[in-house]
């Protein structure tokens, strides 16, 4: 063993690969900046002297109630109620990020649990859970959301519930597929032959091997959830005003086609949304490249297949 190469830990390797990916790095930086902006939203509000819900009827609106374009007082202009778009954007980041992260984490948890149980036990459990996933996937999501909101009224928890309810299946299917092949692997038999029980096998043997898909798909689910929330807000089914969310801001801009005159109302939240989802998508791709051992050797050549459920 004289010609031994220095061995690196897999975490270190992953990080090195991730950092070597320039786009991924940029995406990560953007997300960090965004999180900072969300946390420091009150700071931005203090800096500009404009609260997120403060209406500047005199300087923020024309006498006939039109918003004013970006300028010295309002860097990103004002909205139709004379509020500072910049400040609202920063505050909106909180809600968008919170929804994106919480929804994808919850969905991931459900997806992983269901996928793991279905894939591991197989048989009728798999059939039942598999059919359940099929069922959820055959529900016309937006229509149901529409009806739900009509019944219960819009609220953040409802949006969250709906997003989670409809997005765990992708994860569930991926995990199930992986577990189906993992459980046939001999290390599972080996564990069994040591006397390990089902729970122990699922948690200590199979789960660690799902790290890559879990991380990748959770990351990928964040932008989908953010877009989903934005779409709901756009249809007037999102969060309660005057709290700002990006989707809500865009919906307000779309309302009455005001954006055709006040382009800044759609440009800034639109870009924020685009860059955020883009960053998470790029980060997801980068993580996939870094985590997926299959892509280690032929980095440029191989990309694992994905079936992404598109956001409406």
């Amino acid at each position: 063993m004289s010609a031994e190469i220095k061995q690196r830990g897999s975490l270190e390797l992953t990080l090195r690969r991730l950092l070597a990916d320039r786009a991924g790095l940029l995406a990560m930086l953007f997300i960090i900046a965004l999180v900072a902006a969300a946390i420091g939203a009150d700071g931005i509000a203090a800096l500009t002297g404009h609260g997120p819900t403060a209406q500047f009827l005199d300087i923020g609106l024309t006498p006939t109630g039109l918003p004013v374009p970006p300028g010295g007082e309002f860097l990103f202009g004002t909205d139709q109620l004379g509020r500072d778009v910049l400040v609202r954007l920063a505050h909106g980041a909180r809600i968008s990020l919170a929804i994106g992260l919480v929804a994808s984490l919850l969905a991931a948890m459900i997806g992983v649990t269901v996928g793991l149980v279905a894939g591991y036990f197989g048989g009728w459990i798999d059939v039942v859970l598999g059919r359940l996933m099929d069922l959820v996937m055959s529900i016309p999501v937006l229509l149901c959301m529409l009806s739900l909101v009509a019944v219960f009224g819009p609220s953040l928890p409802l949006s969250l519930t709906v997003i989670v309810f409809f997005s765990w299946t992708t994860m569930g299917r991926v995990i199930r597929g992986q577990v189906l092949s993992l459980r046939e692997r001999e290390f599972v038999t080996a564990s069994r032959s040591m006397g390990a029980g089902h729970l122990s096998i699922m948690v200590t043997d199979i789960l660690p091997n799902l790290g890559a898909p879990i991380i990748i798909y959770t990351t990928m689910m964040v932008p989908t959830s953010i877009i989903f929330e934005a779409t709901l807000s756009f249809l007037g089914l999102g969060i309660v005003p005057p709290a700002p969310s990006w989707g809500g801001m865009l919906a307000e801009a779309a309302n009455n086609s005001i954006y055709m005159f006040a382009w800044w109302l759609v440009l800034f939240p639109g870009l924020a949304l685009l860059f955020t989802t883009l960053s998470f998508n790029i980060l997801g791709d980068a993580l996939r490249d870094a985590l997926d051992p299959a892509s280690m050797r032929h980095k440029a050549l191989k990309k694992k297949k994905t079936s992404v459920r598109s956001a409406p």
């Binding site: 006939t64 109620l81 009509a150 009455n256 086609s257 055709m260 005159f261």
Partner: protein
């Protein structure tokens, strides 16, 4: 440009025309449709002149009659040549058709709320309706009841004469006769339930147009009614050949299609304020306005136990009246051209409106200091927390947020509750239990009278009187005997100036201990495509008159 006939008028709407039959309750927008396919004794002219818009004119009647018998008897002569497009050919509309029309209003299957006006007024009508209510809501039973029945106060001495006898002299009776619900009914319609699919299929027109095809929820196509004779109709010119009323187009998209020439007029869509300003900025001149007597106000819940019944305290309600920034709402709606701050219950253009300010503030911008003072006086120096649901559609959210901002400045913490448009009135507000249980404290609300002009009755009665039944637009069962008495006098006098003064008193009495915060009188803004000529607002339809425009493409 000279008038020209022909062409297809495309009218765009979000919802479809909700009623083909004038009897069941319909939205105000349906008035435009009824204008094209039905005629009433009295109607309005389409006009750009605000006064002319609300002046009653003879339609089926050959003239607007002067009441006799101290205002208790109205005798109408019917215009000859006004025909039904009956299945067996054109047939003159006769007096019996008028009475039949009235009889159908209180049918037990789909009655019209406007029935109460007539029960109140026409001799024997309440009795007729009480009997009708016990009839099985089937075609046969209803038909039999109508054919056998008679309303004492509606007499048909000859085919071309109708006489109405009233319980008291009502100065707005002529206005009541402009309501589409008073449309005469041909004998054939008794074979169908009101506005049933069969009714729609066998539609009998009396206007210049009739229904050619109806694709539910998608499109109604109107073509010329062969039985209609132009010389019998002074109000409708019927220039275009075909009218397509398209449903399912969202307001923004509809506005765009109007601008791009894919559509000509709007059906149930009001031009959004922002769009108006954008259009004005671009120098677009195809904007017109129409005062229908619409107003917006905040209703105050005076029956709940929230905040230990704080809102029952007149001081608190007065504080609310001081707090609100009405100018900001006007600004939101596009400025003084489109809205005016309102301080009483009767909006501009309604007999009874007067310019007074029980709770004056500078430029109507609200007076937070004064409001806080009153609040403290009432025992709430730390302000109050109030729940305010709002209608989550159109301008609702913007208005609610503006209100929230000005109320908060005066020490009211306002929690906004977005409510789907479909739920707002039917489920939340008009359900008295919700008021009693304190589900809401304040609600922004709007009201348009059932007819324009002398419509104080249609504002005061449904909103500010309580006769023991809940579920109307009097959200917290407001009632004031003093106001009621004066209102009764105002209705019974035939002297309009006298009536106006009395209504002013009513307004002042109500506002002294206000159940609402009046916000603005609103003007409806209308818009049309470039091809549309002679666009004249029609007050009872809330939009341009289809039967008087012509097209030049």
């Amino acid at each position: 440009q000279d008038a020209q006939t022909g062409g297809t008028l495309r009218v765009l709407g979000t919802a479809e025309i909700d009623r083909f039959d004038t009897v069941p309750p319909a939205t105000a927008d349906t008035g435009s449709f009824f204008r094209a396919v039905t005629r009433q004794l009295i109607n309005f002219a389409a006009s750009n002149d605000a006064d002319e818009q609300i002046a009653p004119q003879a339609d089926l009647a050959d003239s607007v009659p002067v009441p006799t018998d101290e205002g208790l008897t109205y005798t109408f002569k019917l215009r000859q040549g006004a025909n039904w497009d009956a299945p067996d050919g054109a047939r003159q509309i006769v007096a019996a058709d008028i009475e039949r029309g009235f009889m159908r209003i209180c049918n037990p299957s789909l009655p019209n709320p406007a029935v109460s006006y007539f029960e109140d007024l026409i001799v024997g009508y309440a009795e007729f309706c009480a009997g009708f209510a016990d009839v099985e809501p089937t075609v046969e039973a209803m038909k039999a009841y109508i054919e056998a029945g008679d309303v004492e106060g509606i007499e048909t001495p000859s085919d071309d004469t109708v006489v109405f006898r009233l319980k008291y002299a009502a100065n707005d009776f002529i206005y009541l006769l402009t309501l589409p619900v008073t449309t005469p009914a041909p004998v054939e319609v008794l074979d169908y339930l009101p506005d049933s699919p069969e009714y729609r299929e066998n539609f009998i027109s009396s206007g210049p147009y009739t229904i050619d095809s109806y694709t539910p929820d998608t499109q109604v196509t109107l073509v010329r009614n062969p039985a209609w004779q132009a010389e019998s109709d002074p109000l409708r010119k019927a220039y275009v050949d075909t009218i397509e009323v398209v449903a399912g187009v969202q307001p923004d998209a509809a506005m765009q299609q109007l601008q791009s020439g894919d559509g000509d007029m709007l059906y149930d869509i009001n031009v959004p304020p922002v769009t108006v300003q954008m259009l004005t900025m671009q120098g677009d001149e195809k904007i017109s306005t129409l005062a229908e007597g619409s107003s917006r106000m905040i209703w105050i819940n005076t029956v709940s136990e929230n905040n230990d019944g704080a809102l029952r305290d007149p001081l608190v309600r007065q504080a609310l009246n001081y707090a609100v920034n009405k100018a900001a709402i006007v600004q939101q709606l596009g400025g003084p051209e489109f809205a005016t701050p309102l301080n009483g219950i009767f909006p501009l253009g309604i007999l009874g409106h007067h310019d007074f300010a029980p709770y004056p503030t500078n430029n109507n911008e609200g007076d937070p200091a004064k409001a806080k003072e009153l609040l403290a006086q009432a025992g709430y120096p730390d302000g109050l927390s109030l729940k305010m649901p709002f209608r989550n559609a159109g301008n609702g959210a913007a208005e609610a947020q503006v209100l929230q901002a000005s109320l908060e400045a005066a020490g009211f913490k306002v929690e906004l509750v977005p409510t789907p448009a479909s739920d707002f009135y039917p489920r939340l507000i008009t359900n008295f239990d919700n008021a009693l249980n304190g589900v809401w404290d304040l609600v922004p609300s709007g009201w348009s009278p059932d007819w324009p002009g002398g419509a104080a009755r249609s504002i005061f009665q449904p909103q500010y009187t309580y006769d023991g039944t809940h579920g109307t637009f009097n959200f917290s069962d407001y009632n004031n005997e003093e106001a009621n008495e004066i209102a009764a006098k105002a209705l019974a006098t035939s002297d309009l100036e006298e009536a106006a003064k009395l209504w002013n008193q009513v307004d002042e009495i109500v506002m002294a201990n206000p159940p609402t915060v009046p916000l603005i009188s609103q003007t409806t803004v209308l818009y049309h495509g470039a091809a549309v000529q002679n666009f004249l607002p029609y007050a009872a339809g809330g939009n341009g008159d289809w039967t008087n425009v012509w097209l030049s493409r």
